[in-house]
């Protein structure tokens, strides 16, 4: 994930329903590949957001990032409104929802999953999402028909998300959702498997999970056409 050139994201404060949300924004020149909303929360400790944004930039993604737990832990509705505001920020840069990927850690992973069930984004990834039991119940009741391809990643040794709950989530999603979903479970690590570590298994999990995030986005986020592609499209239209 080491970026050859580190870009310092711009920090701004976004006013939202009487509270402030600090947003980090990383813009790219030229024709970026796509855009990503990075969501984190109080549970996602040890995550270097700027590093992750730079890692995404290496693959051509602009990004916005916010800590959903800033100013107190919000409920799902508040957090989803925060996400809407972040998507709107990207919309001002011309990004459509299919050109946007969601990547959420901990509480942010939960919001990425819930948003993937209501809106068609290009792709969504949840890393160690919170409240899996509650989501399983919703999915089993048929209330979580996914609208975005979703990748969930878990650490097998994480007490908050036991293997049984993860398996139930996979089963519930596969039977209730027409959209492609995949669950990955890393053996021998907790939910903080995304943190770089010198220990072999943890290092393998951190490396593999980052690869999977990028591959999931690359395979599904709709790329923004380059000027040459746009010119070709116009020529095709004019020729018809």
């Amino acid at each position: 994930m080491d970026a050859a050139v580190r870009i310092e994201p711009k920090l701004t404060d976004l006013w939202l329903d009487g509270r402030t949300m600090r947003v980090a924004t990383l813009h790219l020149g030229g024709v970026p590949r796509g855009a990503v909303v990075l969501l984190r929360g109080a549970g996602a400790t040890g995550l270097d957001v700027f590093e992750a944004m730079n890692g995404l930039a290496e693959h051509g993604y602009e990004s916005v990032a916010a800590d959903l737990a800033a100013g107190g832990a919000p409920g799902d509705d508040d957090a989803l409104r925060s996400l809407e505001a972040l998507v709107e920020l990207l919309g001002r840069r011309g990004w459509t929802t299919e050109q946007i990927g969601l990547v959420g850690y901990g509480p942010g992973g939960r919001i990425a999953l819930l948003a993937a069930a209501t809106t068609t984004f290009g792709a969504a990834v949840s890393i160690d999402p919170d409240g899996v039991a509650d989501i399983v119940a919703r999915a089993a009741a048929g209330g979580l028909g996914m609208r975005t391809p979703w990748l969930g990643m878990f650490g097998r040794e994480e007490r908050a998300t036991p293997a049984r709950a993860v398996a139930e989530l996979g089963h519930a999603l596969s039977t209730s959702s027409p959209m492609y979903t995949q669950l990955v479970s890393y053996p021998g690590v907790t939910g903080h498997f995304y943190q770089e570590s010198g220990e072999a298994v943890a290092h393998a999990a951190a490396f593999d999970s980052w690869q999977r995030i990028v591959e999931w986005l690359n395979a599904r986020v709709v790329p923004r056409p380059t000027p040459l592609a746009e010119a070709w499209r116009l020529r095709q239209l004019m020729g018809q």
Binding site: R147, A163, P178, S185, G188, V201
Partner: protein
């Protein structure tokens, strides 16, 4: 843009796999269906079924997997799976196998529900 409605694949079929005597305890076989299914019989004589292909890299578990107790090991990179739950137990596999219910009738016919 709203996603195109896709038809859900929720239909389950009970398919004849083999006779009980066709599979020795502690062994496995591949049912050449589409997609292929691995059928296992553990040392206790219980039957289990999972998707046949190792989730790490394309390899048949039913044909080449090493079954020990309730764990099958893929010989290609030594990924291990629990045949009861499909759970990937060690690196390099991190995605679970799909599991299917197995039924044995009074005529000792083994069926897989998939």
């Amino acid at each position: 843009m709203a996603p195109a409605p896709l038809e859900k694949r929720n239909t389950m079929e009970r398919r004849f796999a083999c006779l009980v005597g066709d599979l020795e305890s502690g062994s496995s076989m591949t049912l050449e269906w589409e997609p292929p299914v691995a059928l296992y019989r553990n040392d206790a004589g219980e039957f289990y079924a999972t998707s046949d292909t190792c989730t790490h890299e394309h390899w048949s578990l039913g044909e080449d997997g090493d079954l020990e107790g309730n764990e099958v090991t893929c010989p290609l990179h030594l990924a291990r799976f629990d045949i009861r739950t499909g759970e990937a137990l060690c690196f390099p596999a991190t995605v679970a196998l799909r599991t299917m219910a197995v039924e044995v009738d009074e005529d000792e016919k083994v069926y897989v529900v998939c």
